[in-house]
Symmetry: D2
Subunit: 379 residues, 4 copies
């Protein structure tokens, strides 16, 4: 029996790159570069095969998958030859990415979402479905007393008005459907006590937050380097220039703040102190999917000598994110199968702002991940 991935934001760049990629790998047209779960050190029979993943999802946009894939090819994110070769396969997925349901109350909306997921599951005889949020970053939501308690939450959702942001409503719908949930964005997702309780009640695992694809990935190896050498980082200042849909969205101060906080967390937690400097995000339409990040790091060494390092990262966010979406879905499905529930803190390797009190050094996160995978295989 196969495993399903239900993508909130199923027509966005990350989702479509994931779909094209998994389909290309199944067809033998692409290798698995970028997929962490395909490394010899991590490969495991506990994972569903990439070629057996089945895709569905919701998206408010109606652009056909093929058109979106062609646009991604023009932007240099995926090769045009793959899009041409996979037209039929994409047409098969096309009807599975449905409009976002809407109802009078959030409780009814959640029920409609759950219904779509269940129908998808039965349509494809799926063993289980992993719900993955790859939609646009939300501003931080207003606090609500019902966020603290699962039963109070159910009651509040039944009344008109928005109690949960969309990312959290998806987590809610996933949990009541018995599905695991992954938040690849900095949005709230499952990070509310009421939702955590619900995940445990339904015995499903969840993972997040905010896929670590570029500048923060580099920070998560450089900051430990300075720490291991007892060098004092004085300034760490970052500029991120990005275009594309997510860029425009992050130019919104609310979303920007959520992201920028998430991006600096690694420094304080790895170094043990906060260096000077901020992380800035600027939307530049012309940059498109190829984000450019520039970081300046000043540090002092022996006897106070001042030194500096700069780096420029020029990465394609969707191409970096998509294989991690496949990895996370495989890992979370296997964890679900093996009986894990609640937050999967051992998946910190994949996230800028990981769940739980975990190390932020990439090497330590790798060790956690490897041990987690061994645990799955033994189960």
């Amino acid at each position: 029996m196969a495993t399903g991935i239900w993508l909130a934001g199923g027509r966005g760049s990350v989702a479509v790159t994931s779909i094209v990629g998994a389909t290309a790998i199944r067809a033998g047209l692409a290798d698995t570069t970028g997929c962490v779960t395909e490394l010899p050190q991590l490969r495991s029979p506990a994972f569903p095969a990439i070629g057996e993943l089945v895709f569905g999802g919701h998206d408010p946009a109606s652009i056909p998958l093929c058109k979106k894939a062609e646009a991604l090819a023009v932007a240099g994110v995926i090769p045009a030859r793959l899009v041409a070769a996979l037209t039929e396969e994409l047409a098969t997925v096309e009807p599975e990415i449905r409009p976002v349901p809407a109802a009078a109350t959030q409780l009814e909306t959640a029920a409609l979402i759950a219904e779509d997921i269940s129908a998808f599951r039965y349509r494809h005889s799926l063993e289980r479905v992993v719900v993955v949020n790859v939609s646009s970053t939300e501003p931080a939501p207003a606090a609500h007393p019902a966020h603290a308690d699962a039963d109070a939450l159910r009651q509040a959702l039944g009344e008109p008005g928005a109690v949960l942001p969309a990312s959290s409503l998806y987590a809610y719908a996933a949990f009541i459907s018995g599905c695991s949930y992954i938040d690849f964005t900095p949005s709230t997702g499952a990070r509310l006590p009421a939702l955590d309780a619900l995940a445990h009640r339904h015995a499903v695992p969840y993972a997040g937050h905010d896929g670590k694809t570029g500048e923060t990935l580099v920070k998560s190896v450089l900051a430990p380097m300075f720490a291991m050498r007892n060098l004092r980082v004085r300034t760490w200042s970052g500029t991120n220039l990005l275009g594309g849909g997510d860029g425009a969205n992050l130019a919104d101060p609310g979303a920007n703040a959520a992201k920028a906080t998430s991006k600096q967390r690694v420094l304080g937690e790895t170094l043990g102190y906060e260096p000077q400097g901020n992380t800035r995000i600027e939307y530049v339409d012309d940059i498109g999917d190829f984000k450019t990040a520039w970081d300046l790091i000043t540090f002092s060494g022996f006897l106070g000598t001042s030194m500096r390092m700069e780096f420029t990262w020029h990465g394609c966010d969707s191409a970096l994110a998509a294989p991690l979406v496949l990895d996370l879905a495989r890992l979370t499905a296997a964890a679900h199968k093996s009986g894990r529930s609640g937050p999967l803190t051992d998946l910190a390797f994949f996230f800028k702002d990981p769940l739980g009190s975990v190390p932020h050094s990439l090497a330590e996160q790798w060790a956690l991940l490897a041990s987690f995978v061994r645990g799955l295989a033994d189960a």
Copy 2:
């Protein structure tokens, strides 16, 4: 009883920065930033205190330590106020840095070196002495049959002509004096079967090669990052601009080749393949001690998407090296005391071109080091 450090190249930038630093720490005028053995995770009662280290050495140059320290202050390597405050202390070390002995055969020269070290040891009632090579990088020496066997080596040294390069003759002299030996340079040092056998015969440990202070340090965390993310590094091309004495020396093609090989080794061993590109070293007098390295890395990710990263490292080599010299002396002295002999492969963390078949990822090297330090404390 105190521990001695005998510096081959005792009037060079690294040596004098080490001496000024240890003296400043003893006097309470500087903190231990840059000293790895002072990190909470590694601190150990097995180490001699930095303040109790006693310095001596050899150098063909005759520049007074004070003058050299003043020049380093003008170059921005050490603060002028420290040099001013430590005039008396430096004057005390001054006579301990002696001219390099020379005799008719290398055997006699080694005996004179050993005599100087022994006299230093008894003069200061030192428990043990660590010999550290911080002199200029040598070209690769001609092979000699006597390099393979300790007894053949002893005999060959007794004849006129150069059998060993200077760095190896220091290792020889150290071992026959019962002293441990560290090679902080890419020179041959103790890396000859005859010298390894001698170290075991005299039950002394040795460590090396080539202190990892800048560009290679960064490589040792970035290369594993690409590997852990299953990203394919296609090009890794580095340019190193440096001035100062070592810069001029490395402009010599022979020395340059030794260094450049040492600097690329981390890539093949961490990635499992050799990306395109080389490491270049250019001598630019005006750059002085503040080396600038620029690296371009191109890599491909999911579905072959091309991406790139650049970094510039602007570090003061002597200020980065000096605390590691103190660290290595403390670690090697403690290892000697605890009965270790032969190559200390667990100290790979400190070297570009470490001894033995060891990991090149900084995080794995750190784990080796931490376990080594715990072993010393338990001993």
Copy 3:
């Protein structure tokens, strides 16, 4: 007879670097690197000699010049040996940098300023005095009807309340004293119709705005390069990290906006269109006087091919500004002597936001300047 420079902000970094520099040149302790008016192509007998310049000024701060100079030496802006050698000379200037006068109305304050300048002039038998604003950048002032007319302005100044920002009040005081005026900052200065009229009425010249010392200087040669090659600049995005007093001040959104606008003006005027991207200024205390600017430029060439350029500028603002202050004072004094009055648009070479409708390409500005200097010599 000598020429005086009256510095509004006389104890700031730029002012003190200018004073130390001119004094060191007079004493034969420094050469004139950085002084444009000392280039063979521009040197002219029309200029007062650097060694004959006499300094005075106002500053709300009371830090002694010597202390400020020592702090600049520690920060690496000026050599410590110069400060040590010029203690006596700085002590002579010390009493000439006076507290900022304050009175019940701005008219009275202007009179006190004018009085201080006149006393300075007579005390040193100065042929003429150039007033230079090197004080902190002001936020954009509120519009006031009296800004449009010199007589209305005089009347409004006589009433309580602030009609003019400080930079403009200095221009007012300069003009009524028969002195020329230079604004080295992005503040309003003489850029009001009433003040322009006043300059003409008193037959004095003025110059400004905002000394072009770093990132904008580079833009003023790179933007014409793209234009001359018919390459289409798509994005020009700049990040400026700076510490020091001016950095803290520019972190204020009002001042920041003035500066950022001034810094982008060169692009639109040189390219003929506005590329995407902004200029950001971030205050990072640790960076100090050595500003780091990073710019990303993306452009398209033949058949639409996308290309990119990045640059990092790591310059000491005070060291770049100080010789230009001397240049501007010499040029403006010579212009005054030769009978020029009103805006000196031919000095655009020195400014980010030059007066008048002038070219922004550095090479064209150089041609204007050279012709201006020839005109002075002929006069």
Copy 4:
């Protein structure tokens, strides 16, 4: 009557990009971005229209133009849609790019080259033909006494053996055919007294050397910036990483030396002194046509303060060169028509290593060019 361009190296990247580009412009499928002669300030009725240029040439390779164009599209140099749209037009040019003739003596080879050019000219009723060398860079040739005199040269060419390198033999063939000649490479081309004499004898103009497309272009505006500001450049060190055919060729030490010398010339001539540092060229196959250059510049300013600038240039050499080939052909054809002969030193704007004693500052070169174009229009 139309103008012909005869390309030595007609199937190389620069040649094919030029052909595709001119064809696309004629078909209205591309604009003239990158063409300097299309700027409003330079446009002139004296130039042949881009759409009326007719292409022919020689190349030892036999790859069809269409295949080469497709490869350039895959490499991102030209858009795939243009190649698809221009298949027919490229097929028309296909037979005009012929194999390189070879005969027993260079004199006979030159006659065969001249014959091909003449046949091309009559076949298309061309008013005139410009011969452009865009073939691979040659090593510096051995000196030969016949290089000094046109008659001696003719005689020497009649004997077996190579008297002239290929680039110079093309200049010879061009001149005896009454055609102008442009060397876009650092090869010798027309730079021999015998060839200069021949050009004058046949009353034809010639231009060169080495198209200024990237790093040197940037140098030619930055070096004057430092000079105009009286800042002392201490180090200028450049690294060029490039792949593609020319990259492999430049890895040859002989060709590399020619190129590197050509690239540093701008510094000495613009600054008036030689800063420290070299220009390095490294062949990295993976980089392809998109060259990456990194330059470090250190400079001192007022009172000796040390500062630095770095830039990275990531440009597509063929896309930068191709429009300049069209520009040069139009300018040289117009010059020929107006009666100019000998070296066209006013075209220095286009070259790294221009003919004659001319300014190396881009702005001054622009002024020369603009005045040259005005002269053509007046003629």
